[in-house]
Assembly symmetry: C2
């Protein structure tokens, strides 16, 4: 099958957003007057970011969702994306499912496939399955000039908020890894995996929430590598510190009910596991009522987990973890970082 | 080395084009009023698009050049790009050279690195050298609304033009492959390789020419997979056929002087080899004088190689190859296609 046939069969998409879509040297689209263009890019590698035998439809969903989540974290409206695929082989059933999951999500966000590249993966391929598969998506959006919610706007006294629940994808991944290692999961763990698996494989990009937080949030990012590491990006960019109340961390019922040997293991999962794709943001106290209203308007849980404080006399932004319920656990948390792709 | 350290050490670039560059969830930039945003994306895979031991500096150059060439082919002005890297390992000397070559070209085009992603490559890595390395660049530019030079504007009677010379990169690649297979090249071939190697490894993106051809060319693309296949993209998009004079194909001295067993082998190299990154365009006859002026103004050779004709009674766009010097060779050419990444 020729590259052009692959594109024509699986990745031709009626674009309402592009003036010129797939099929020329480049795509053309318009940014609304007085708007800035917003651009982000994420690369997913088989064996690193997904299991080589993952369901193709969920993979198509996730590859786009993680990029749209970055647009959401800027308060941007999605416009379109380019897709680059390095394929170990041409498997038409796989391509149909992958593009199905991808384009279904694209349609739901009115975020159009505008172009890209398709090639064979390198000599590392051929080890079986999707080994060697690499997916890169670059997504574009727009935001009224000056309205983007950046990482450097947190101010001392602001509340710190997070959407949804934390650690669900990490728990699903941990259970999936045990299952893949040949372990027969106890019934309760199987139920938990069934409940949380979609949080790992079909993450929700909080676009509507991101848009609603323009003029409300003072800084924002999406939590992709674990809140413990990611919140530090806001702190460093804004030159502030944070007090975070571990007792307030929003946990799903399956994660809250899970038994751990040590209480801090639950927090480690919630704070360092990654793949949450929830929005973490800061906002002045004056916005509390507005934020409470958003919970009802959008149907998205929003939880106040801490507050922004000045950097201490050493001048280094840091997180001070707090807990009344399990203060013994706090000693375990000081060096928690986000996921490091090179460790 | 942590992902953030890699980005900070090697890919932080003083951006004059971005309102917000590397370091947030997404980058922000502006498109000038009444302009369309132009976007293109290319993925390069070790072992497919470059030798795993290729010089890192030239690889950095080429990875960006092939994308900027697509912007040039639209008549667009480059603005910026995102870079995604899947690295088999962290080799700081390699990263310094790669980013050096990349950012030198970026600076020369005023095309700024605005963001991206860095990750480890998958389990195919570790086979040695750069095996597993994947580079994806998505480049953005702008063009006044309606001024982009698309593939679908060729009209019957237009001339067909090409910039520079064809087949040089393909000849360099053929010689390099012989050398890598252990062959000791004759002196003349070594000289030819030395002369043409930069055409393969450091291609020129014809940005200035692309801009100058706005309002002059009726259709355009960049020749990346060989003119024989690529020109058909214009023909199909415009629903026209072409007569191309093989005797007029612009060849460099090293390629013209190379000895081939059959005369058509030279044309095959020039027409199907790929990696030329020259611009192929159509223009009305009334533009001949303007195009002749451009040769002097820009110092870029522009050669008229054929003309646009109506599709025949079968209604299928096709190329009719012509030659007075070597008409026997034409029989070999009918099924010549561009490079197929999946054959």
């Amino acid at each position: 099958m020729h590259e052009f046939q692959i594109i024509q069969s699986y990745f031709t998409h009626l674009s309402r957003r592009a003036d010129l879509g797939v099929g020329d040297d480049a795509a053309l689209f318009r940014v609304s007057p007085n708007c800035q263009c917003v651009v982000t890019s994420d690369m997913l590698v088989a064996g690193r970011h997904f299991f080589p035998d993952v369901d193709a439809r969920t993979l198509g969903h996730k590859a786009l969702a993680v990029n749209v989540s970055d647009l959401a974290a800027m308060g941007a409206e999605p416009l379109g994306f380019t897709l680059s695929l390095a394929l170990p082989s041409v498997d038409e059933a796989w391509l149909a499912d992958f593009s199905g999951g991808l384009l279904a999500l694209a349609t739901s966000f009115n975020c159009d496939l505008m172009g890209g590249d398709t090639t064979r993966s390198g000599s590392g391929a051929g080890l079986g399955g999707l080994d060697g598969l690499v997916i890169n998506i670059t997504a574009f959006g727009q935001v009224p000039a000056g309205a983007a919610i950046r990482r450097d706007g947190a101010r001392v006294g602001d509340d710190i908020w997070v959407s949804g629940t934390l650690g669900d994808a990490a728990l699903a991944l941990a259970l999936l890894q045990r299952q893949r290692a040949g372990e027969s999961l106890p019934e309760q763990d199987s139920t938990t995996l069934a409940q949380l698996r979609s949080r790992l494989e079909m993450p929700t990009a909080r676009v509507e929430l991101g848009l609603a937080l323009r003029g409300v949030a003072s800084s924002m990012l999406d939590v992709s590598d674990g809140l413990a590491g990611d919140v530090r990006h806001i702190l460093r960019a804004s030159n502030v510190s944070a007090e975070i109340d571990c007792d307030a961390l929003p946990l799903s019922s399956p994660l809250a009910l899970m038994t751990f040997e040590q209480p801090w293991q639950r927090w480690r999962l919630a704070l360092t596991g990654g793949d949450d794709y929830e929005l973490c943001f800061t906002a002045p106290l004056s916005m509390r009522a507005r934020i409470a209203d958003l919970v009802g308007e959008l149907g998205v849980p929003l939880t106040r987990i801490g507050r922004v404080v000045p950097v201490d006399s050493l001048g280094a932004p840091r997180v001070m973890w707090q807990s009344e319920i399990s203060s013994d656990s706090l000693a375990h948390m000081n060096d928690w970082q986000g996921y490091n792709h090179f460790s």
